[in-house]
Amino acid sequence: MTRQIAVVAFAQSDHRRTTDELSEVEMLMPVLHEVLARTGLRTADIGFTCSGSSDYLAGRAFSFTMTLDGVGAWPPISESHVEMDGAFALYEAWSKLLTGDADTALVYAYGKSSPGSLRDVLTRQLDPYYLAPLWPDSVALAALQAQALIDAGDTDESALAAIGARSRAAATANPHAQLRGPVPQGDHLVRPLRTGDCPPIGDGAAAVILAAGDRARQLCARPAWIRGLDHRIEPHSLGARDLTDSPSARLAAERAGAFERPVETAELHAPFSSQEVVLRKALRLGGEVVVNPSGGALAANPVMAAGLIRIGEAAARIHRGACDRALAHATSGPCLQQNLVAVLEGDAR
């Protein structure tokens, strides 16, 4: 019998365009304190710690060592770090708990996009020989994908605008979101994408606590059980992919058991409105599914934390009884190259 692991607590910062007055550690510390307080655990009680962040955002090598100081790793802790979104750190922590080596895990992620030019920084993620020298930025690549969708008849500019509007309207109920309420659709940033189709650039942090079996029930009145968790990657070259589809998201969802029964809620990490179209199709989400009640990445997209926040938001809805079965998704790489899907459930009420 496989161990059952649950998300038992979630906390996030207020996501903001700039946090000049805060270091990464200062941005993260209140979030760590909050997530620990929700469970009454202290750092020393945690069995395994795993984080996700990027040196390229921080602008220095080994940037994660600074935030480890914020965790308070003394006496020494069992700890690891991925240079990926925190959702993948959660995957590593989940696998650790499945082995039985630990009963609780702290997962955190953070990113400050404000010190640099994010569109330029993300070009450094591309094939260094054939693509990066051209500096195609993240918005331009997403626009290629959006145009492919329009050409395929999957969407049009007004449908895309409606996705942005719906997301920011939903975010009015989310005090942590960066963009809330009506936001002008604006001019084309890179045709066919308008500013309203693009995520806000900002800084933020998030943290989650995982626990196994009875420990989860002790720490949380209604744990969000991870029924399935899987992630898959696609070819890097955009020319080798059908940008209107996401076979990796679909395969991850299938492996995570998402198609076994319908979900009520889906938190999708779709930084661009057009990417929600791709993901809804790949994940077979019908009109009856509540998509991104938090506002999603179009309302707040702190790079490296935004995927973990999707899992945290989905879990929080289960914690408070607003949902029984939810899908959470995280992505990485240009045009949804890599995708992670989690299926979360609450105990029957």
């Binding site: 019998m1 990027s54 080994f62 060592t65 069992s78 770090h81 995957y91 039985g100 898959r232």
Partner: protein, 388 residues
Amino acid sequence: MSKEPVAVVGIGQSKHAAARRDVSLAGLVREAARRAVDDAELSWADIDAVVIGKAPDFFEGVMMPELYLADALGAVGKPVLRVHTAGSVGGSTALVAANLVAARLHGTVLTVAFEKQSESNAMWGLSLPIPFQQPLLAGAGGFFAPHVRAYMRRSGAPDTVGALVAHKDRRNALKNPYAHLHEHDITLEKVMAAPMLWDPVRYSETCPSSDGACAMVLTDRAGAARAPRPPAWLLGGAMRSEPTLFAGKDFVSPRAGRDCAADVYRQAGITDPRRDIDAVEMYVPFSWYEPMWLENLGFAEEGEGWKLTEAGVTALDGDLPVNMSGGVLSTNPIGASGMLRFAEAALQVRGQAGEHQVPRARKVLGHAYGGGSQFFAMWLVGAEPPER
């Protein structure tokens, strides 16, 4: 539920060199990965997931390069995880991969670690700019030299011990065809005559900057049963971290290192490491770290590690050989350096270490560390499967 036993059934590494201008980043990782998959007599289709590790992305100037490397590693349609835990990353990466098998999430996992340091200047890459650090240090040696000095003072070790380690490791490297440095004319006199770089660390006692990659195929019990060559079995593995700087930190023998070793020994049922473990491949980027880690890992009492080195115990024909491959002192692609230690330990218990094979090596420890002596990753592998 007990954990699935984990076996190493394929090991590969690139030829390491100061600059591998003949290969791209993808070519470098594929060279090692291909050799590991071939060693296991598997094909790319047999690999269920890939776990890749490397040190800071700035070393090559590619942010999250695993995205671009997915194709070269045969990972399309599969899960890819990218680990970064500073210098210990090669070890941590292998442990993350082992966990996927132990948790029964995947049957067969490819794990890869690399660094292509010729793409930039690693010494300055390791010297953080203002405002992150005072402009006092040049490279990792500037950070570690005072801790070596503290060890010398604390233990009363004679000045010559560091040179003995460097001489031994560089001579061991002559038996390892993949090693970066092959100094055929090396003598102890030459080691001692080298210029002082970071007092007390001489140029001859410091690691090179290398391009290189290492890969392993890890699999479950069923996979091990199908393996064409004897597997190495994971008997214990652990990671420990502590902060970089704090009042009371013991830089000479960090508690995270001691705790990590104790965890591994507990898992593997090791009560007396000096007696129960046949050889050690440890992360020694500066010669003096051999006696320091011998103590930290419990092979010698505090202040006594240098005596093992001086007496030849750690030589290839000694009774506790250390760094049979030539170690980090002979090959240092930082992101891969930890995995090279883990892989050498596995090669030894499989009896596949060639000219640097230790006879009858049944249990061998692989060790990695990173950051400011704060991140530790270790595994103990054996020729026999775990008893549980």
